[in-house]
Symmetry: C2
Subunit: 116 residues, 2 copies
C-alpha cells in the first residue's frame, strides 16, 4: 500500500507546507484564487490543485462570483488536529518539565484530576 491520499483527512492535507500557507492567508479573509497565486508566487494550476485537496477535506469553502472563486477558510476541519496535539501540550509546558513522565508512571491509569 502507498501512503494515504492527501485528501484522506486534515492531517494528510496540511502535511504539505504550501497548503498550510494557503490556510494562513485565508485566515485573514476570503480570497479569490488569483490572489493566492500572486501572494504565493506559485503557478495557478498548482494553487487550484492545492485548493482542491483543501476543499475535499473541508478546510475551505468556495463562493462563486462571476468568473472568480472566492475561497474561505473553514477552520473547523482543523479541529481534529488541534484536539490530538493538545494532549501533548503539557509535555513541553515548563510547569511539568521532566516531571510528567514520573507522574504518569505512578498514576498508571485512573484520573487523579488536576487544574485546567
Amino acid at each position: 500500500m502507498a501512503r494515504a491520499a492527501t485528501t484522506t483527512d486534515a492531517f494528510n492535507a496540511v502535511a504539505e507546507p504550501r497548503r498550510r500557507q494557503i490556510l494562513d492567508i485565508l485566515a485573514g479573509g476570503e480570497r479569490p484564487v488569483n490572489d493566492l497565486v500572486r501572494l504565493l508566487g506559485v503557478s495557478q494550476p498548482q494553487v487550484s490543485k492545492h485548493l482542491r485537496v483543501l476543499r475535499e477535506v473541508g478546510a475551505v469553502d468556495v463562493r462563486e462570483e462571476g468568473r472568480q472563486r472566492h475561497y474561505r477558510l473553514n477552520a473547523l476541519a482543523l479541529k481534529p488536529i488541534h484536539d490530538w496535539v493538545k494532549n501533548y501540550e503539557r509535555s513541553w509546558s515548563e510547569r511539568f518539565d521532566r516531571l510528567d513522565v514520573v507522574l504518569e508512571e505512578l498514576e498508571g491509569e485512573g484520573d487523579g484530576g488536576g487544574d485546567e
Copy 2:
C-alpha cells in the same frame, strides 16, 4: 517532484495514523518495541519502520537495554504542529462563532487588542 518525505518534519510524520497511535501509547510511558507490536497488532517490521520515522523527526527517543530498545515520547517535536493549529482555535470556539469572520474583515490589518 513527489510528496515530501515522511521524515521531513513532524507534520508529515504524524499524517500516518499508526504513528499517531504509537505516540499516543508512548504518552503513557516508555515502551519496548514488542509492547507496541502487541498493542497495535501490527507486524514488527512495520512498527520498527514507523519508529524510525518518528525517531528521524525527533518525536521519540530510544534507550537501549540489553536486546530491547525502549522508546520514549519526545513531545517537543510536536510543538510546531500545536503552534500552527493553535491560531485557528478561535474559529471554532463558540465565543467567536460566526462573528470572527466579520470582525476580521473589519479589522483588515492592525491589532485592535482583545481579552486573553
